[in-house]
């Protein structure tokens, strides 16, 4: 299995810490990061990005910082037009979406830092953002309790935007308080969206129908949710310090002390659980807590198998990602040289959108980030060429084939001419010989006649 790492950050300036999920070894600690909830992301494993909201007094400005995996210092700083809290990045790492405190959503292109679009999404601050599994929809949650689904195609289609009444595809209003987290699962257009809110509920929505499928009531406010990769259950981290397990597809038990759909809980935290993440195979669940600890749970046994200490203050973001190559000193030397652009970070994100240009360029790495694409599949050609030529020779169709034939015929002719010469001389010799013989005979005969 590919090694995975845990990344964690906190609202206090404790940096971003990074551990190996399986071995527990600590990697670099990236400095000067104070992230808001959902404000930390890895851009397709190429580098780290985090939005920053320092404190209340400078609430008119925020920033987004980039770290490359092999340096602990901030490398790129961007200063958006307003403080951005949640950020999300699509799978390929080509776009960053950021949710502003005014309720606007910002959509940047990573490679150029261009602000491609900005639209007013919510009446209050955006609290969480998520891309769906085919990266064509953006789901946002906000302080006004609203969850909205946006089609990125529509966002960029000027003509259709005019025609449609609403820019969003769906707007879910059932939450009565601030939405704290939103996650979505597999299944294309049949996927589900799970949202958590301060109203102590998590709601499961159907993407295809745009309807509420299930309402799960918890004993405490839920700040973080994580879907089991197989979507049997989802985990909800509560302010009561428990990670509640709620059924999606799992058979449900009618336990009196839990509400409906709540199957049980993982409890060890003394303080509120603020963030959750799941490993790729779904067997490990990582939780961050206000007590500054990060716990790794085995979901099958419901036991803690590892505890990391991030900082004194609360942890508010944890992530599990595949270990980036640059982090591993052994392989980085070989790969870094071959893929230069992995080392250099893209420019900072722009503050304002430019007017649409008639000759815009898209900065893109053709062949993608996947190193296997870079390998040109070369092949040996001579045998193939030879076969083609043999075919041509046999068909005697082309000029080139005829030419070879001509050469051969010329050669044959030459040989034949030589042969003729040879025969000729031989014939001449023979003729000469015979004539000589005859003459000889005649000469010898004549005396005999005379003798007779």
């Amino acid at each position: 299995m590919e090694p995975e790492i845990i990344i964690a950050s906190s609202p206090t300036d404790a940096g971003v810490s990074c551990w190996d999920l399986r071995t527990g070894a600590e990697h670099l600690r990236y400095k000067s990061c104070a992230s808001p909830l959902h404000g930390l992301t890895s851009i397709a494993g190429r580098f780290l990005a985090s939005s920053q909201v320092r404190d209340a007094k400078s609430s008119t400005s925020g920033s987004i910082l980039y770290w490359s995996w092999n340096k602990s210092q901030v490398e790129v700083r961007s200063f958006p037009a307003e403080p951005i809290r949640p950020i999300a990045c699509n799978n390929q790492g080509t776009y960053i979406a950021g949710g502003g405190i005014s309720g606007d959503i910002y959509f940047w292109e990573v490679a150029t830092g261009k602000l491609l679009k900005k639209w007013h999404a919510h009446y209050r601050a955006v609290t969480c953002l998520a891309f769906n599994d085919d990266q064509s929809l953006l789901i946002s949650g906000a302080e006004d309790g609203c969850v909205r689904v946006w089609s990125l195609f529509l966002i960029f289609d000027a003509v259709r935007r005019e025609e449609t009444r609403n820019l969003f595809e769906y707007s879910f209003h059932e939450h009565s308080l601030r939405v704290t987290d939103v996650k979505t699962g597999y299944g294309g257009c049949n996927a589900i969206i799970v949202s958590a809110s301060e109203d102590r509920t998590c709601k499961v929505w159907s993407l295809s129908r745009g309807k509420l499928l299930r309402n799960v009531v918890f004993p405490a406010v839920i700040d973080a949710i994580s879907l089991d990769p197989g979507e049997h259950v989802f985990y909800a981290g509560g302010r009561d310090g428990k990670i509640h397990i709620a059924a999606l597809n799992a058979p449900m038990s009618q336990n009196s002390n839990n509400g409906p759909y709540v199957l049980g809980s993982l409890a060890e935290h003394s303080k509120a659980v603020t963030c959750l993440a799941s490993s790729a195979d779904g067997f490990l669940l990582v939780s961050g807590s206000e007590d500054g600890m990060i716990r790794v749970w085995d979901t099958r046994t419901r036991n803690i198998i590892r505890i990391f200490r991030h900082a004194k203050g609360p942890v508010n973001n944890v992530m599990v990602t595949k270990q980036p190559q640059l982090l591993n000193p052994r392989t980085s030397a070989s790969t870094a040289s071959s893929r230069k652009q992995a080392l250099t970070l893209p420019p900072s994100l722009e503050k304002f959108a430019n007017a649409p240009d008639e000759n815009t360029h898209v900065k893109v790495l053709i062949g993608g980030q996947d190193p296997s694409n870079g390998i040109t599949d070369s092949s040996y050609v001579s045998v193939q060429a030879m076969e083609a030529q043999i075919r041509e020779l046999q068909q005697k169709g082309s000029a080139a084939a005829a030419e070879v034939d001509v050469e051969r015929l010329k050669n044959d002719q030459l040989r034949s001419v030589q042969m003729i010469q040879h025969w000729k001389t031989m014939y001449d010799d023979l003729h000469q010989f015979c004539v000589d013989e005859l003459l000889e005979d005649v000469r010898t005969e004549r005396p005999t006649h005379q003798n007779l």
Binding site: N91, T94, E109, D134, Q135, S136, L137, S151, L152, F153, F156, D157, A158, R160, E169, G188, C189, S206, L213, R214, N215, N249, A250, P251, M252, S253, Q254, Y261, G264, R300, K340, Q341, D357, E358, N359, T360, H361, V362, K363, L365, I366, G367, N373, T376, S378, Y380, V381, S382, V383, A385, M386, Q389, I390, Q394, A399, A400, V404, E407, R408, N411
Partner: protein
């Protein structure tokens, strides 16, 4: 060496090589008559790795030497041949030298590549007469450089050689006109660009000029043009920086645009030209130097050939193809893709329809119009290629431009009438849908559906299907028709088919070719896959109906007219392809969840089931897959879950019926209680669970029974299993594993149902057998199975227990009895006396 191993014996290889050399490889003395012998030599060398000289470490020295000397003489012969003044022998030597450079051992290659290379280099001089020799020298050189790339220790030497070869091949490119040679020379250059970019780097401009002048000369065959275009697209790689790529792209686009101006003069509004130019070149920016240097540009402006439009079109097409190549071949660094320029050019070509605006009659001769119109499809095809390449090359970054691309495509689809282009447009739609996902599908579904409806000729087909339904051409005909399909494929004449064909042919003479229908079905399938259940209310019902009708129609064999068209061409898709496409789309429509259970499920299943009977075809394979996929639809299930309380490995828990954590099976009890709805809004999942529970209850009950039966057995359990093991071991020695294990299992089960057996278990097997037999009879009666069945069971039980008792004594009896037991075993399970 023993005879059977001779084929793999290393000692054979030198001998084989020598005999090849003696019998098949031409030599200087004898004339070389049959060139096809060479391909035999090549295949023999490749299959047996005759040149590898890879001996196992334990091989004796004389074997190593023998092989080495054999390869030595092989190489010497080739070199001699390559210096022959007879072109055919020289050619043979060069070809085999190319083979040798890929097949020989590394040591040999490293010591001799220099000599070989120089040998070959002689033959690509312009003085060489034979085209074949030149071409094969290029190919062999290319192979040599491909191999050289594997050795980093000779990189420097190789690069200097590559520089030399680059010059030579450049000369060839400039002076040669034969397509065989040009193709191979381009191939050689491409290899050099790939592996020794620095060698080409020095001649960058002259290579560009050479390729471009050939490209626009209009004297090359299409395959050479393609090759040249590909070479040009790779050229920036030799520099490997961002600017060269962008410069090349810009040069090409601007050149194409100016050529388009010439070609479309009077055929389109002037504004489009200006718009495209603005997109290509921002105001106030210096235009890049002309493509291929100034010389080539002079050449291009000289259109004095007999058919200038033809020339223009071929230039435009090959350069557009070069653009798509540039967009899709991986490049080492990030580049700026001039997306707006590309889209403007593609749009310009796609939206031209050859009609004359009234104002421009005066400028335009009708002759020119005719020529341009005949060339437009080719250019449009390349433009569609460019759109596909943009989507592919830019990946997710194409998002801001998808709307524009889609509008272009939509517009084009509504105008396009040429099948080949329509197919391309549909496949482009498919690519877009799959790469852009739901977000796009929600908004464009209506367009796709309406286009597909027209192209699939829904009304015609429906009429056809219905009429045939009344003509007693109902489903029973179907299976016959599949057999008929097979006959058709084996070239049995169409006349053999009874009147059916004639009747239908009159009814629907369909204008849309089958290949377009296939493309339309594929696009529809993509739509259903990506967004079949989101906001699909308006079209979903119609599409489902359409697909069912089309699939039925396809499986029935369609009309005679359509099939006739199909049989004419070779590369054309066959009717089987159409069937497959129809069934694929049908499966997507069945699987993509809608509001209700698909109404055509039964008919669909029938089609798939019939399809599986077409043995050994792709159709049968696909139908099998479809049935598997649909099974979930028929029996919705949620598999037993990992238990959150269980600490064991999940897989083990699933594999065993007897759950160690829940010996009494209590985890199912809450399940059954849960039948009452929990909340009204959860209809979807509720429905699901409703069904699930029923299923689970059934499973549960049988499991429960087994568990219950388990309990009283506990003290003897170990003993029983001990006995089981013994049985298994003894019988498996006879190679009867499965049967005996089944029998053994059965025995355990019957044992478990009785308490009285506990102690007897240990006694002599004879006694035990009797007891089992006795105990079974009343049990089966109690199970209220019919009387005869009961009797049957009891006799079977008797037999089995007798068998078990006999196991230790005689193995033969086991064999017979087990055979019988296996035959009837399924019945026993069904009529398990314990269930209910």
């Amino acid at each position: 060496m023993s005879a059977p191993e001779a084929m793999y014996d290393v000692a054979m290889k030198p001998k084989l090589l020598r005999s090849l050399l003696r019998e098949y490889v031409p030599d200087e003395k004898h004339p070389f008559t049959n060139p096809s012998e060479l391909s035999y030599v090549v295949s023999a060398v490749k299959t047996h790795k005759l040149l590898s000289e890879r001996t196992p470490p334990e091989a004796q020295q004389d074997l190593v030497d023998a092989w080495k000397s054999a390869v030595d003489s092989w190489v010497n012969r080739l070199l001699a041949l390559a210096s022959s003044n007879l072109p055919d022998k020289c050619w043979a030597g060069i070809c085999l030298l190319g083979l040798t450079s890929q097949e020989c051992s590394s040591e040999r290659f490293l010591t001799s590549y220099d000599a070989w290379l120089n040998k070959l280099l002689v033959h690509i001089q312009p003085s060489e007469v034979s085209h074949f020799v030149k071409a094969s020298s290029c190919a062999s050189l290319s192979d040599m450089f491909t191999r050289l790339d594997d050795f980093s220790n000779v990189k420097k030497d190789a690069t200097s050689l590559a520089t030399k070869v680059t010059q030579q091949s450049l000369k060839l490119l400039n002076e040669e006109n034969s397509s065989v040679v040009l193709e191979e020379a381009m191939c050689l250059l491409r290899t050099l660009i790939d592996f020794f970019p620095s060698a080409v780097h020095r001649h960058y401009d002259s290579v560009e000029a050479a390729i471009v002048s050939k490209l626009i000369s209009g004297k090359c065959s299409p395959s050479v043009l393609k090759n040249l275009g590909h070479g040009l697209s790779l050229l920036p790689k030799s520099r490997g920086d961002e600017d060269s790529w962008s410069l090349m792209m810009n040069k090409i686009l601007i050149y194409v645009n100016s050529q388009l101006n010439d070609a479309f003069q009077g055929l389109e509004e002037e504004t489009r030209n200006a718009k495209a130019m603005r997109a290509l070149l921002p105001a106030g920016k210096e235009p890049p130097p002309p493509l291929g240097g100034s010389e080539a540009s002079e050449q291009s402006s000289d259109i004095s050939t007999r058919n200038p439009e033809r020339l223009l079109a071929s230039r435009i097409s090959s350069l557009l193809q070069c653009c798509s190549d540039m967009l899709t071949t991986p490049y080492p660094v990030m580049v700026h893709v001039p997306i707006c320029g590309l889209l403007a050019l593609a749009g310009r070509v796609l939206l031209v329809d050859g009609s004359l605006p009234l104002s421009s009659y005066s400028f335009m001769t009708t002759l020119k119009q005719e020529f341009v119109c005949s060339e437009i499809p080719n250019m449009q095809f390349q433009s569609l290629e460019i759109l596909t390449a943009i989507v592919k090359g830019l990946g997710s970054q194409v998002l801001p431009y998808v709307a524009e691309i889609f509008e272009l495509l939509k517009e084009y689809l509504s105008r396009c009438k040429i099948p080949g282009l329509k197919i391309k447009a549909y496949s482009m739609l498919k690519v877009l849908l799959i790469s852009m996902g739901i977000g796009l599908a929600i908004h464009v579904s209506q367009t796709i559906v309406s286009n597909v409806f027209v192209d699939l000729d829904f009304i015609g087909i429906e009429k056809d299907v219905k009429s045939s339904g009344t003509n007693t051409k109902g489903p029973p005909e179907l299976s016959k028709d599949f057999h008929y399909k097979k006959r058709k494929r084996s070239k049995v004449s169409l006349q053999e088919q009874p009147a059916q064909g004639g009747l239908e042919g009159e009814m629907s003479i369909n204008s849309t070719p089958i290949s377009v229908k296939i493309a339309a079905l594929e696009a529809l399938q993509a739509l259903l896959t990506v967004g079949g259940s989101i906001r699909s209310e308006s079209w979903r019902g119609d599409v489902d109906k359409l697909l069912m009708t089309v699939a039925t129609y396809a499986c029935r064999g369609g009309s005679k007219e359509e099939r006739k068209i199909l049989l004419s061409g070779d590369a054309m898709p066959t009717w089987a392809d159409f069937q497959l496409a129809a069934l694929r789309a049908l499966l997507a429509s069945l699987l993509s969840p809608g509001r209700v259970r698909p109404s055509h499920l039964a008919l669909g299943l029938q089609l798939f089931r019939r399809g599986t009977q077409a043995t050994d075809t792709q159709l049968a394979e696909y139908c099998g897959h479809a049935l598997l996929a649909l099974e979930v639809l028929i029996h919705p299930r949620s598999l037993p879950l990992l238990d959150f309380n269980s600490c064991g490995d999940g897989y083990k828990a699933l594999g065993h019926l007897r759950d160690p954590v829940y010996p009494s099976g209590d985890r199912r009890i809450p399940n059954r209680q849960h039948d009452e709805p929990e909340s009204e809004e959860d209809d979807l999942i509720e429905n699901w669970h409703g069904k699930d529970d029923e299923m689970e209850i059934q499973v549960t009950e049988t499991q429960d029974n087994m568990h219950c039966a388990d309990k009283p057995m506990d003290p003897a359990d170990g003993l029983t299993s001990g006995a089981d093991k013994k049985n298994e071991v003894t019988t498996s020695e006879n190679g009867l594993d499965n049967k005996s294990i089944e029998a053994a299992h059965f025995k355990t089960k019957s044992d478990q149902s009785r308490d009285m057996l506990e102690s007897v278990e240990l006694e002599s097997s004879n006694g035990k057998a009797a007891l089992v037999a006795n105990s079974i009879t009343p049990e089966s009666g109690a199970a209220s199975v019919s009387e005869t069945a009961g009797n049957e069971f009891s006799t079977i039980f008797e037999r089995i227990s007798a068998t078990l008792s006999n196991i230790d004594r005689s193995n033969e009896t086991t064999f017979e009895a087990d055979d019988e037991a296996e035959d009837i075993f399924p019945d026993i399970v069904d009529g398990d006396p314990d269930s209910d």
